[in-house]
């Protein structure tokens, strides 16, 4: 185990993959100098010709990465802000994610797209989104959301080794977090959630930076004698339905936290999966149905917070007490 920051963990994972497989290339804007999020420093020197600066042409370089993936490379593309994913939706949705299926398995598309998501930085509406919801319904695509430095390493390696298009949502406010990273662990298959805390009274499910808020809420609930399971989804697609059903089967209560709009997000999917598995009372903690405002006064007010999560969990516990 080593202690690394989340961004250092991403760099270490990319270096490990560049080392392991000569077909891996890293592409994006300013990646040779380390990128604006400082996630690729030093890689260009260590791996000459395989760390490629691109023009500011997201559609071209992501589309080219798709073509290169079909023709034998294992490209890792950096999309500077997750908001720019909208520029590459044709390549991502009409080409890469459908190719394995439509070609009847003629060639896989080992393409990783890393991107910085998340609000709270006063960047405004088009540099703060976490556009996971729109991609949840795309067959053939995998979506992962590392919430810790350990996962930034483990899931990035899993994404690069996966034979399918994978979008890695990195949260810009987690880059500085430090934590333990196991560089020797075997590379996992994408799709498993993780319990970040155990308890039998209520299940709290979240992803990315919302995991920290869920853990903080669980600590407050514990003071009131309410024990919470905290599940970090880690992968939004595929979805670890078993972990959710296992937990809600014990607790009967579910709070899902999502820093995104209420309609069409992963929170709705988690609630649906839990409901299909058995009787459960559910609540969602999401943002209002608005674009993200820039002013600090406004932005902080729309993000989910620990207090809302505690209130939602309390509400479920009390409601059930009344019903009894």
């Amino acid at each position: 185990m080593t202690t690394l920051s989340y961004r250092e963990a991403v760099t270490a994972a990319l270096a490990a993959e560049l080392e392991r497989d000569e077909a891996v290339v890293v592409m994006g804007e300013d990646v040779v100098l380390g990128g604006v999020w400082v996630t690729t420093p030093g890689l260009a020197e260590r791996f000459p010709g395989r760390v490629i600066d691109t023009p500011i042409s997201e559609l071209a370089f992501t589309g080219a990465a798709f073509g290169a993936a079909v023709r034998g490379l294992r490209p890792v593309v950096e999309i500077m802000f997750a908001d720019f994913l909208w520029l590459v939706t044709d390549t991502l949705v009409n080409q890469a994610s459908k190719y394995w299926y439509l070609s009847n398995g003629q060639a896989p598309v080992p393409l990783t797209i890393r991107t910085a998501a998340g609000a709270g930085g006063r960047f405004g509406a088009c540099h703060s989104q976490t556009p996971t919801g729109a991609l949840l319904g795309e067959p053939g695509l995998k979506l992962i959301c590392p919430a810790t430095p350990g996962d930034a390493y483990a899931l990035t390696r899993a994404a690069v080794q996966d034979d399918n298009p994978v979008v890695v949502f990195e949260h810009k406010f987690l880059y500085g977090r430090r934590g333990e990273v196991d560089e020797q662990a075997p590379v996992e298959r994408i799709g498993r959630a993780a319990y970040r805390r155990r308890g039998d009274d209520v299940t709290i499910v979240s992803a990315l930076a919302a995991v920290e808020k869920a853990i903080a809420a669980a600590e407050i609930l514990a003071e009131d004698g309410i024990a919470a399971d905290v599940i970090d989804l880690r992968s939004l697609r595929p979805f670890d339905a078993e972990a959710i059903a296992e937990s809600t089967g014990r607790t009967g209560r579910l709070v899902v936290v999502e820093d995104g709009p209420p309609l069409g997000g992963y929170a709705a999917e988690v609630v649906a999966v839990a409901a299909e598995a058995g009787p459960v009372r559910s609540a969602r903690v999401s943002m209002p149905d608005l674009p993200l405002p820039a002013s600090m006064a406004l932005e902080d007010s729309v993000l989910t917070n620990v207090e809302e999560i505690v209130r939602a969990a309390d509400g479920l516990v009390e409601a059930q007490a009344v019903m009894r």
Binding site: L59, A64, R71, W100, Y101, L102, Q106
Partner: protein, 340 residues
């Protein structure tokens, strides 16, 4: 390299002899070129009949009239090279060597289709024959071929990629972004615009600033070639020059092949509503098949055509009798590649 106009038979023969001297693929004999063009023509005629009969459903985008472009360009390639084509892509597939029966079965939605019936006419993939894919969205082929060029560069495998696209695609972001990217990276790609003068129902000049396609090459510091797209030898000649340049590490080329589709844009469209009859007639007079026939020894074209007619009849019969894919199996299919 030459403007649209009549073909000079003697020059065409001379070019062909020059090309044959460097032929390492066996693809460049005039008979072979003609055979592939006739196959495409008759295949597409059959597709149109099957569509009208309701056997092929959904849509079709037919390639009659443009055969010399795909056949000429693909003849300039060698084993390991790749093409990315458009939704008007049957010609490119057949020119690359896709099995016509498997292609027809794909259009008919059958199990034995080149993609098992999953792709249909607009999304055919045949990597075994170097077809990265036909792309249903205008411009998609441009990025896919650019990526193949990038893979070639990184892997140093010496392969060249061709993007086929129509005149409509030159106003898509894919065109501008990828030509710029490929140029600054000097990628081994040949961009072949099949300018058939109409994007769907709209005349190219009326929606394309400057009214020129090859003129856009200058903006991205690329060589631009204009070729008579109905002269298969001329197309092969220009494509060979562009392929050699790409393979030599000198970067991409934009080739504008001026041609004309004999049919409408898609389905039941005849083109009559937007194309003047005189224009259609003039272009039918430049049909690439008779123009190539004129270069062949007497009787050769007739023999090849008869063989192709019999061949396509067998293709249709076999494809129509092929079994349907199993819908029950599909319900449990997985859209991703997973380790066993």
């Amino acid at each position: 390299m030459l403007g649209v106009g009549g073909v000079d038979g003697r020059n065409a023969q001379g070019r062909l002899e020059k090309l044959r001297a460097t032929d390492d693929s066996g693809r460049r004999d005039l008979e072979g070129l003609y055979r592939r063009m006739v196959l495409i023509r008759l295949f597409e005629d059959a597709v149109q009949r099957l569509f009208v009969q309701g056997e092929i459903q959904g849509t079709t985008h037919l390639y009659q009239g443009q055969e010399a472009v795909a056949v000429g360009v693909c003849a300039a390639l060698r084993e390991g090279d790749a093409v990315a084509a458009t939704y008007r892509g049957h010609g490119a597939c057949l020119a690359m060597g896709t099995d016509p029966t498997a292609l027809m079965a794909e259009l008919l939605g059958r199990e034995t289709g080149v993609c098992g019936g999953r792709a249909g006419t607009m999304n055919v993939v045949d990597l075994e024959h170097g077809v990265i894919g036909c792309f249903g969205i205008v411009g998609g082929s441009i990025a896919a071929a650019t990526g193949s060029g990038l893979a070639s560069r990184v892997r140093q495998d010496g392969t060249v990629a061709v993007a086929f696209f129509g005149d409509g695609a030159v106003n898509q972001a894919y065109f501008h972004e990828c030509l710029n990217f490929a140029s600054v990276m000097a990628l081994p790609v040949v961009y072949v615009c099949e300018n058939n003068l109409y994007g769907e129902w709209t005349r190219m000049e009326s929606v394309t600033a400057g009214g020129t396609i090859v003129g856009r090459a200058a903006a991205y510091a690329l060589p631009g070639l204009v070729v008579d797209g109905n002269d298969v030898v001329g197309v092969l000649d220009s494509a060979s020059a562009a392929v050699a340049r790409a393979r030599g590490g000198e970067g991409p080329t934009l080739v504008e092949a001026r041609t004309y589709r004999h049919k409408g844009h898609s389905r039941l469209d005849t083109g009559e509503r937007y194309r003047p009859a005189e224009e259609v007639e003039a272009w039918l007079g430049q049909d690439p098949l008779p123009r190539t026939e004129a270069l062949l020894p007497a009787g050769t074209a007739e023999r090849i055509r008869q063989e192709a007619e019999a061949g396509v009849a067998r293709v249709v019969e076999e494809a129509l009798s092929a079994q349907w894919p199993d819908p029950d199996r599909e319900r449990s299919a997985v859209p991703t590649k997973e380790a066993a």
